[in-house]
C-alpha cells in the first residue's frame, strides 16, 4: 500500500481484482487518494486503468476487493456491498464525452441537478455559474451535437462538476481532441481542479498529459502497478524496465556486475566497463540491465567523461533544434539525442558512417530490475 504521511486519505481501493472471462484485467490492486489530490493512472491500452476507474464509478462489478469513498464503503465483495453508481456521488468525464444529443447544452448540464430534485431557480443559477466557469456562456440553448469537440468536452466537464461531487473521474477525456486543443484543455482542467480542490482520478496513456496534470502517478502494466510516485521520481528514478521505457525514451544495455566499491559499481558491458553510481547492490557476477536516457549521452564530448564508448553512426535525423543519432556500439544500437543545436553546430554534426565517441557520467545511468 502506498501512503504519504500527514495527509488525509479520501478514497481507498483495496485488493481490487477484475477478470473478463479468463483475462485478469485488474490484478489485486490497492492504492489511496488524498483529499484534493490529482492522481493519474498511466499505462498502455489494456493495462486495466480504465477498468479500475469504472469499478470506482460503479460501472463495473469487480470480482474481489473493497472501495471506500470518504468514510463510506461503496464496494465490498466479501460483505456483498454494491452501491449503485447514481448513489456514489461522483462526477465522471468520459472519453467519448457522452453528451446527450437529444438535449440542449444547458439541459445536459442541468441533468444531474434535476435528478437530485433541486428547485428550478437553483438549477438555473448553478447551471449559469458552471457555464461561465467552463466558458460556454451564450451556448445554453445550442443543441449539444452542434458543438465542436472542445466545446463538447467543456459541457462534459461542466456536467460532471455542476453538483459539486466529492470525487471527479476522468477517462481519457482529451484523447479525441487535436494536439493544440488538448494542451489548452489540460491546462484548464488543472486550473479548475486546483481552484475547486476536488479529489480527482485521471486515466490516460499519454505520459506528457499525466506529467502536466498530476500530483502523483500510478504507472500500470498488464493489470499490475509498476510504480507509484510524483513525476520527478518516475522520470529520474524509474524502478522497473517497463517504467523507464514507458516514461521518456531510454537505452537498455545488458551486462554483468564486475565489482562494487566506494559507491561505484563497475559493469562489464559492450566490450568495456561502465561505471555507475551504486543505487542497489548487485553481487559480482549478477546479470544486470543498465538504462541511460538518450539526452544524457554526449557525442564526441570535449572533455573526458567517466564512461566512453566507441560506435558508428548508422542513421542521423536532424529535427530542428535537436537531432537523433542511431549509433551502433559493438552491434548494439544506442539512441542519442543532441539538444540545442545552433547554426554553428550544424556544419560539424557527425555524419552517417562516422565513428564517434559516446560519453556519459555515472550519475545519469541506473540499474533496472
Amino acid at each position: 500500500m502506498i501512503r504519504r504521511k500527514g495527509t488525509m486519505v479520501f478514497l481507498k481501493v483495496l485488493n481490487l481484482v477484475k477478470k473478463f472471462d479468463s483475462v485478469v484485467a485488474v490484478d489485486n490492486i490497492s492504492f489511496e487518494v488524498e483529499r484534493g489530490e490529482f492522481l493519474t493512472l498511466l499505462g498502455p491500452s489494456g493495462c486495466g486503468k480504465t477498468t479500475i476507474l469504472r469499478c470506482i464509478a460503479g460501472l463495473e462489478t469487480p470480482d474481489q476487493g473493497d472501495i471506500f469513498i470518504g468514510e463510506k464503503l461503496v464496494l465490498s465483495r466479501e460483505k456483498d456491498v454494491f452501491v449503485q453508481p447514481d448513489k456514489r456521488g461522483l462526477g465522471m468525464v468520459f472519453q467519448s464525452y457522452a453528451i446527450w444529443p437529444h438535449l440542449s447544452v444547458s439541459d445536459n448540464i442541468a441533468y444531474p441537478l434535476v435528478e437530485r430534485k433541486l428547485k428550478k431557480d437553483l438549477v438555473r443559477k448553478k447551471t449559469k455559474q458552471i457555464l461561465e466557469m467552463v466558458k460556454l456562456s451564450g451556448l445554453e440553448d445550442r443543441s449539444a451535437t452542434k458543438l465542436s469537440g472542445g466545446q463538447q468536452q467543456r459541457v462534459a466537464l461542466a456536467r460532471a462538476l455542476v453538483y459539486d461531487p466529492e470525487v471527479l473521474l476522468f477517462d481519457e477525456p482529451l484523447s479525441n481532441l487535436d494536439a493544440k486543443l488538448r494542451i489548452e484543455m489540460r491546462n484548464e482542467i488543472r486550473n479548475l481542479q486546483k481552484n475547486l480542490g476536488i479529489t480527482s482520478i485521471y486515466v490516460t496513456h499519454d505520459q506528457e498529459e499525466a506529467f502536466a496534470l498530476s500530483d502523483r502517478i500510478i504507472v500500470m502494466n498488464e493489470g499490475k502497478i509498476e510504480q507509484v510516485g510524483d513525476p520527478v521520481t518516475l522520470f529520474f528514478k524509474p524502478k522497473t524496465h517497463f517504467v523507464s521505457q514507458f516514461i521518456g525514451q531510454t537505452n537498455f544495455i545488458g551486462g554483468v556486475a564486475e565489482s562494487v566499491d566506494k559507491g561505484v559499481t563497475r559493469i562489464s558491458a559492450l566490450g568495456t566497463f561502465i561505471e555507475i553510481d551504486a543505487t542497489s547492490e548487485p553481487k559480482k557476477g549478477d546479470k544486470v540491465f543498465l538504462s541511460i536516457r538518450p539526452e544524457y549521452i554526449k557525442i564526441n564530448p570535449k572533455e573526458k567523461m567517466q564512461n566512453e564508448l566507441e560506435g558508428k553512426v548508422e542513421q542521423r535525423q536532424y529535427l530542428g533544434s535537436y537531432g537523433r543519432f542511431y549509433v551502433s556500439v559493438q552491434g548494439v544500437p544506442i539512441l542519442v539525442e543532441m539538444h540545442d543545436i545552433t547554426k554553428n553546430d550544424v556544419g560539424i554534426l557527425p555524419k552517417e558512417g562516422d565513428t564517434v565517441t559516446l560519453g556519459f557520467s555515472s550519475g545519469d545511468c541506473f540499474l533496472i530490475k
Partner: protein, 555 residues
C-alpha cells in the same frame, strides 16, 4: 458502365411504369388501350360507394392499433435482450426475429383455428378450464386482426430498435448513471429518447405496412362484410362486374396514405440520426434484474409461443387429420393431406413449383439488378445517380397491392403477353423488394470503402477485372445472404400475387388463399407446413452460408 446504367434504367422503369399506369388508369373511364376519356369520376365513385367510410375507418383502426401494440412490445423485447441479464438473451435475440419471416396470412388462418368462436381450439380449452358459457375471444373481428398483425409486426419494431440499442455508445447511459439517475430513469430519460428516431421509423413503417396488409383482414373480417382498403381493391378487381378504374382510385388513396407516412417520418428524423463519437469498445454492464429476470424470460417466451408455437403447432396438428371439425381424435389421423399436397393435386403442385421458381430466379434477378444499381449509385459519378437511388427506394412506401394494380393496368393490354403468366408475378415481386436489395448492397459498399478497388486499379487491373476479382468476392457474402432473404420474402408474398394471379401462375400463398376460401383446412395446414419448412430451410442455409445474424441483413 453501360450495363450498370441499363440496370438502373430497368429498375426505375419497373417502379415508375406501374405507378404511371396506376395514375393514368385512375383518371380514365376505360381500360388503357380502350377508347375513353379523362375523368375524376373514379374517385367520386370510390368515395361515394356506400362502404368506403367504414372501410377507411377500419383501415385506420387496424393501422393505429397494430402500431400501438407492436411498438411497446418490440421495445420491451429489445430492452430485455440487449440491456438486461435475462437468461438465454442471445438465443432470444435470434428467435424474436423469426416471426418476421413467417407469413402473417398463414398465421391469421392458424389463429382463426385457435380462436374461432365456435370451434377454436384455444377458445374451447378456455371454456373448459374456466367453465365459460361463451367463447371468450372472437378472432373474426378488428381486434382479432390487430392481434394477429401485431404478432408479426413486433419483429419489425424489434429489428428497427435493436440496431439503435446495440449501436448506442454505452457511455451515454453510464454518464446518466454517474449523474444520479437510477437504472429505470436512465432507460426512460436517455436510452429511449436516443433511440427515438429508430422507434419512430419503425412505427411509421409498421403503420404503412398495415395499410397494405391484405391476407389477414381478408380472412378474418371480409367474410363478415367488414372491409379495409386492400380488400376493397380486391373486391373491385375480382368480383363481377369488375371495376378496375374504381380499384385504381382506391389504390391511389392507399398510396397517398403510405407516401404521407413516409414523408412524415423523413421530416421527423431529419437531423436526428444521432452520430456519436464512439469511445473504446467495452462491454456495457447489463442491468441486474435479480429474480425479475425470470419474469422477463417468461414474457419473451410467451411472445414466441403465441407467434410461433401455437399457430404452427395447430397447423401441424391439423395437417395430420382427415377433416377438420374442431376436434382431434386418433382415428382421424392420416398422412393423406401431405400426399394430396405433394403428389396429387395438380394446382397445388404447380403452385409449389411456381413459388420455388419465382423465389429462386426472381430473387437472383432482383439482386443482380440492385447490385449493379447500388454500384452505380455509390461508386460512380454518373449523372442521375441520386434519382436512381430515390426511385429504387420508393417501393418501401408502396403497398404491394398498389404495385400490383398498377402492373395490372400496365400489362393487361400490352402487346407482350405477360399478363396471366408467371413473369408478371416475378416482375411484381422484384419491383416490390428492390429496396431490400439496394439497401443490402449500399450498406456493404459503404462499409468496404473505395480504397480496396482503387488500390487494385493502381496495381494495374482494368475496371472490369477489378469488379470481377475484388468486388465480386467482397460482395459475394452479401449477395448470398440477400438471395436467401429475398427467397423467403418471395415465398410468402401474397398481397401482390392475389391481384395478378390467373389459373396457371398461382404461387403457394395464392393457392393457400383459395384453399382457405374452400374451407379445406387440413390441406391448408399441410401446405402451410411445407411453406414454413421451405422458409426454415432458407434460414438454415443462411446460417450456413453467412456467419452473421439475420438481424444485420434485414435492417
Amino acid at each position: 458502365m453501360v450495363v450498370m446504367f441499363a440496370a438502373a434504367v430497368v429498375a426505375s422503369f419497373l417502379v415508375l411504369y406501374p405507378l404511371g399506369y396506376l395514375i393514368y388508369g385512375s383518371l380514365r373511364t376505360a381500360l388503357p388501350g380502350d377508347p375513353g376519356t379523362f375523368t375524376l369520376n373514379n374517385f367520386v365513385e370510390a368515395f361515394t360507394s356506400h362502404k368506403i367510410f367504414p372501410t377507411i375507418i377500419n383501415t385506420f383502426i387496424i393501422m393505429f392499433g397494430t402500431t400501438l401494440v407492436s411498438c411497446p412490445v418490440g421495445l420491451f423485447l429489445v430492452w430485455i435482450t440487449t440491456r438486461t441479464d435475462t437468461p438465454f438473451r442471445r438465443s432470444l435475440e435470434i428467435l424474436n426475429i423469426l416471426p418476421f419471416l413467417l407469413s402473417p396470412y398463414v398465421a391469421g388462418v392458424a389463429w382463426s383455428l385457435l380462436l374461432s368462436p365456435r370451434v377454436g381450439l384455444l377458445n374451447k380449452f378456455l371454456m373448459n378450464v374456466f367453465n365459460l358459457e361463451h367463447a371468450p375471444f372472437d378472432i373474426y373481428s378488428i381486434p382479432g386482426v390487430i392481434w394477429v398483425l401485431s404478432l408479426y409486426y413486433i419483429p419489425y419494431m424489434y429489428l428497427f430498435i435493436l440496431g439503435s440499442f446495440k449501436a448506442m455508445d454505452p457511455s451515454m447511459e453510464e454518464s446518466a448513471r454517474t449523474c444520479g439517475s437510477s437504472v429505470f430513469r436512465t432507460t426512460f430519460r436517455i436510452t429511449i429518447p436516443l433511440a427515438a428516431p429508430a422507434i419512430i421509423s419503425g412505427c411509421v413503417i409498421v403503420f404503412v405496412h398495415c395499410a397494405g396488409q391484405f391476407g389477414v383482414p381478408a380472412h378474418l373480417i371480409m367474410p363478415k362484410g367488414d372491409y379495409v382498403l386492400t380488400t376493397t381493391i380486391m373486391r373491385f378487381t375480382q368480383v363481377y362486374p369488375q371495376e378496375y378504374s374504381t380499384a385504381s382510385a382506391v389504390a391511389m388513396f392507399l398510396l397517398v396514405i403510405s407516401a404521407l407516412g413516409i414523408l412524415i417520418q423523413r421530416r421527423f428524423i431529419r437531423g436526428k440520426e444521432y452520430i456519436t463519437v464512439t469511445g473504446k469498445a467495452y462491454r456495457p454492464r447489463l442491468i441486474q434484474l435479480g429474480k425479475w429476470r425470470y419474469l422477463t424470460l417468461t414474457i419473451n417466451i410467451i411472445y414466441l409461443i403465441v407467434s410461433i408455437v401455437l399457430p404452427y403447432g395447430t397447423l401441424l396438428l391439423i395437417s395430420f387429420v382427415s377433416f377438420w371439425t374442431g376436434d382431434v381424435s386418433p382415428e382421424l389421423l392420416t398422412l393423406e393431406n401431405y400426399r394430396l399436397v405433394l403428389f396429387e393435386d395438380e394446382a397445388i403442385l404447380r403452385a409449389i413449383k411456381n413459388s420455388l421458381f419465382v423465389s429462386t430466379v426472381g430473387a437472383f434477378l432482383c439482386l443482380l439488378m440492385t447490385m449493379l444499381v447500388a454500384y452505380l449509385v455509390n461508386r460512380t459519378r454518373t449523372r442521375g445517380r441520386g434519382f436512381f437511388d430515390y426511385i429504387t427506394m420508393l417501393p418501401v412506401g408502396i403497398p404491394g397491392m398498389v404495385i400490383a394494380v398498377g402492373l395490372l393496368w400496365a400489362w393487361i393490354r400490352a402487346p407482350i403477353p405477360i399478363y396471366g403468366t408467371i413473369w408478371i408475378i416475378m416482375i411484381a415481386f422484384i419491383t416490390r423488394y428492390t429496396p431490400y436489395g439496394m439497401r443490402a448492397f449500399s450498406n456493404t459498399l459503404l462499409q468496404l470503402g473505395p480504397e480496396l478497388e482503387e488500390s487494385a486499379r493502381i496495381c494495374g487491373s482494368s475496371w472490369f477485372k477489378t469488379f470481377r476479382k475484388i468486388l465480386v468476392p467482397l460482395l459475394k457474402p452479401g449477395f448470398m445472404a440477400g438471395w436467401v432473404l429475398l427467397f423467403i420474402l418471395f415465398m410468402r408474398e401474397l398481397s401482390t400475387a392475389i391481384v395478378l394471379w390467373y389459373s396457371g401462375n398461382e404461387v403457394i400463398s395464392v393457392q393457400l388463399y383459395q384453399l382457405v376460401r374452400d374451407g379445406e383446412f387440413p390441406a391448408v395446414a399441410a401446405l402451410s407446413i411445407i411453406q414454413a419448412l421451405i422458409i426454415l430451410g432458407g434460414i438454415i442455409l443462411f446460417r450456413l452460408i453467412v456467419k452473421e445474424e439475420f438481424s444485420e441483413r434485414l435492417r
